[in-house]
């Protein structure tokens, strides 16, 4: 029953939409009945068209995310540990950080053309800052007790890095990464809307332009589902990696 209340509200809203559309209260052309959208969604999913389009988008988003992680997490940790490096890079970072990623798409297109390269650049740009900031913060806010302990037991710098700094900053990096996930997806979609021949963003835009409105909604729904899945997947992986952290924070 507890679970049902959510479903109930959801169904009620869907039914309201259906009714409004069928009775012509809202433009049926732009708000086709939910049942029509659902049927379209089903057909396009079974035919493999939508999942395929979404997959190419998601894979680009994931590639961008991982790239950003690979570069920015170590850089952020280094900035968090070394005050000098942080002082060196902070002005540049702070200058770039407030630029909204969509605003650089036109520039990226001039520079990198319209291929996958441009999209990756924009995605990486969008994901970099949350991850970087998470890593800086994580490394900076390590409990001094941990560092002292490592020092008291005469551990090497390498051990300190891999045994203390990395795991201690992990949750913060993960939090940054989680902020970056939806951003990666949105920016991937946006970059496809401007220049691509594949991807769910492009599909949605194209359907919109050719007035295939139910197909457009189906695309939006598919994107929503992928967003949900990507979020949940990230959550699962991070929860697994940071099991100790969940227990630690929730356990004492």
């Amino acid at each position: 029953m507890k679970r049902l209340s959510g479903l109930l509200v959801f169904c009620a809203l869907a039914a309201a939409w259906e009714g409004l559309s069928r009775w012509g209260v809202v433009s049926r052309l732009y708000f086709p009945p939910v049942s029509t959208i659902a049927a379209t969604f089903w057909d396009l999913t079974v035919s493999g068209l939508l999942p395929g389009q979404a997959l190419s988008t998601v894979s680009r988003a994931v590639a961008g995310l991982l790239l950003a992680l690979a570069v920015m997490a170590p850089l952020g940790l280094a900035m968090g540990v070394s005050r000098r490096l942080s002082a060196l890079l902070t002005p540049t970072v702070e200058l770039l950080r407030p630029v909204p990623p969509p605003a650089i798409i036109p520039a990226a297109m001039l520079l990198f053309g319209i291929g996958t390269g441009m999209k990756l650049v924009v995605i990486v740009f969008a994901c970099s800052f949350p991850i970087l900031v998470g890593a800086v913060d994580g490394a900076r806010s390590i409990d001094p007790g941990f560092r002292l302990t490592a020092a008291a037991y005469g551990l090497s710098r390498r051990d300190l890095l891999f045994g203390v700094i990395l795991p201690a900053a992990g949750p913060s990096v993960a939090a940054g990464f989680r902020t970056a996930v939806p951003m990666a997806l949105i920016v991937a979609v946006l970059s496809e809307m401007i220049g691509a021949s594949s991807g769910i963003g492009h599909y949605i835009l194209r359907m919109q332009r050719t007035f295939a409105i139910p197909e457009m909604y189906a695309g939006v729904a598919m994107l929503g589902l992928w967003g949900l899945a990507l979020n949940a997947g990230t959550q699962q992986v991070l929860a697994r990696l940071l099991r100790w952290h969940a227990g630690w924070k929730g356990g004492i």
């Binding site: 605003a103 998470g134 959550q235």
Partner: protein, 269 residues
């Protein structure tokens, strides 16, 4: 689903960013000079990446003529209005979901379905009702920035520990007093963090919406500059957007510091 932690901030830990050492500024200046040189020597294509000085000149000219200021004003107005609507809505919904678990459960599925919707894909639909300017930007940005606020408020509503809740009960306070004076202030730091993300999202989405639909505003300015084949103007527009984002963020951080003055390190989280 665990809501994501509010995004950390660089200046978070010690309340105030570390002093920008001379080295950092030198690096920045060096990079700009490098850009200038590469562009002047045509090692970077000058019609894609004009020299910094050209961009600066263009920017200055646009500021003097008031053209950019006007566009920026429009963008800021739209972003703030969208942020106001979406932020308030998201916080209210999220806080209510957190405080009243039954309500939260009832809304959960709908919210989780709506949350990942790309707001930008909804622009053509929005045009039907909201036209092409202010209303549209506010709606799309509001929709987008409601979610970070929502997530933060849901998490924030659970921040007050059992000791605080029970203290209010022991001392005979009413339910509403407990919500207003205990749960809400405890949630404030997280909500502020969520709102801060929301503000950045609002700016980004307004710019995108302007690019896609609005006849004016900085986003439109950037796109038109690129369409007219004038990269200098385009970069000037991008810089202006960055300044708008940074300015709004700075103002918000200052306000947040005041709102959280009671915290050990105002500005933490």
């Amino acid at each position: 689903m665990i809501p994501p932690d509010p995004p950390p901030s660089i200046e978070g830990v010690r309340g105030g960013s570390s002093p920008p050492a001379a080295g950092g500024l030198f690096l920045l200046i060096f990079l700009l000079i490098l850009w200038e040189a590469l562009s002047r020597l045509a090692l970077l294509p000058p019609d894609a990446v004009p020299p910094v000085s050209v961009i600066g000149e263009e920017l200055w000219g646009l500021i003097i003529s008031g053209e950019l200021v006007g566009q920026a004003g429009l963008t800021i107005g739209r972003a703030l209005a969208g942020f106001g609507v979406g932020g308030v809505g998201g916080v209210a919904l999220g806080f209510a979901c957190g405080v009243f678990p039954g309500f939260g459960r009832a809304m959960r599925m709908t919210v989780e379905f709506l949350r990942p919707m790309p707001s930008v894909a909804l622009i053509p639909i929005g045009i039907l009702f909201l036209g092409l300017g202010f209303g549209l930007c506010v709606a799309v940005a509001g929709f987008a920035c409601a979610w970070p606020a929502y997530v933060a408020a849901v998490a924030g509503a659970a921040t007050a520990g059992p000791e605080l809740r029970d203290t209010a009960r022991v001392y005979g306070l009413r339910r509403w007093e407990s919500i207003v004076f205990v749960l809400a202030p405890a949630a404030l730091p997280q909500i502020m963090a969520g709102l801060r993300t929301g503000l950045a999202v609002a700016v980004a989405v307004v710019v995108t919406t302007e690019m896609a639909a609005a006849p004016n505003g900085l986003g439109s300015f950037i796109l038109e500059a690129s369409m007219a084949g004038r990269p200098g103007r385009m970069y000037a527009g991008i810089v202006a957007v960055g300044l708008v984002g940074a300015g709004l963020n700075a103002v918000f951080v200052a306000l947040r510091r005041r709102a959280l003055a009671w915290m050990p390190e105002a500005g933490q989280r």
